[in-house]
Amino acid sequence: MDSGFDFDVIQRSAGYLFRDGMTFTLTLTALAMLGGIFFGTLLAMMRLSKFRLLSMAAGAYVNLMRSLPLVLVIFWFFFLVPYIGAWLIGAKDPVKVGSFMSCLITFTMFEAAYYCEIMRAGIQSVARGQVWAGYALGLDYWQTMGRIVLPQAFRNMLPVLLTQTVILFQDTSLVYVISATDFLGAAAKVANRDYRLVEMYSFVAVVYFIISFGLSSLVKQLQNRIAIIR
């Protein structure tokens, strides 16, 4: 290093990094988590369905997503979503989709496959007798699922779901490949503009470490508390 570590560049750009970049990252993480868990639960119910067509379709989707690198899936959706949008509204030309929307759809659909496997394990961890008891009381499939099985499955799987969310939080940094301005993207832009790559990337690593480590520790504590109650 010629000129020593320049802390000033971090201070100068902190507003941009956190207000623009980190907001993008955290919003994307939160929304993709909610969407991913929603679709993941639906996929899990499909995979466990007694209708073979449903379970095969869900299984194929989940295995496809889990066999592909996330970077490739990001590229796929980045180019595919405008065409799907055009097809949905019947337009002739591909519609313009903002980078945030494109990322949100990508991560929701990709993480749904991983949340699906977690929820499947969760649903299978509920005792069979619970389902029979539900049916014996005259509840239908949706009532049994919604009121008896899923609440227990969620509780059993809460630590695993949250751990997957920490992974999702780290994965969102890959939106760099489509030049979206997430936390890493913002830092990369400042780094290249001011030629402060060492400072910016070290700072980014430290920030990601603090947040991920903090969240993981919280999940571990939660896991211990749940373990005591049961």
Binding site: S67, F75, W76, K92, Y114, E117, I167, F213
Partner: protein, 251 residues
Amino acid sequence: MNYNWDWGVFLAAEPGGTGTYLKYLVVGLGWTLATALAAWGIALAIGSVVGTLRTTPYKWVVRLGNAYVEIFRNVPLIVQMFLWFFVVPELLPKGLGDWVKQMAPPWGSYLPAVMCLGLYTSVRVAEQVKAGIGSLSRGQGMAGTALGLSLGQCYRYVLLPQAFRIVLPPLTSEFMNVIKNSSVALTIGLLELTGRARAMQEFSFKVFEAFAAATVIYLLTNLLVVYGMRALERKVRVPGLISASAPAGGH
């Protein structure tokens, strides 16, 4: 959909002059595998050592091992990639750093990518190895000690031979993760499979053909790995144990 499909594009010449686009992508698969295999070697070596050390009775060794795992697990892969590519050469002694920076492509990207993926994956291997040793019955270690084996001998002759055979199935999914994760190396300029599909899309404007080809190649590679590893698993399975495979998390 208003899109002109043209599957013949794979037989067209790519602008770099190395042959057809098909060959261009297959060479990309070669780089993906070369990166993944080299990183896998590093990951297995370091991961086994760190995982084993974390089960020893020495408190400080365990703490150091835990710190190593936490550091590499809590920083996103792409950020680690940038650290290896942009930051590490600056921190090395000047001569060595310049040598790394001036390496001819693709080696200038390949070396940091392999180091990054290797260490990133090593903590996952370490977790599996630690879990494998932990899953052995406590009596195994005690019996070893009762026979007068030293701690090192006990690991060498009693615990590790069993643990490695137990952790092989979960390690399969880690190996597939390395193959998938090697695609992140495109961000530091390594033209592996995903990077070449992206480049092909930029040269030929055939977006979906390029990505469809990459998708098919990844799926075939996965199938090959799964079948190969299954054969290996059958060979090394510990007789008398129900082979339980841990659920594959992360990616």
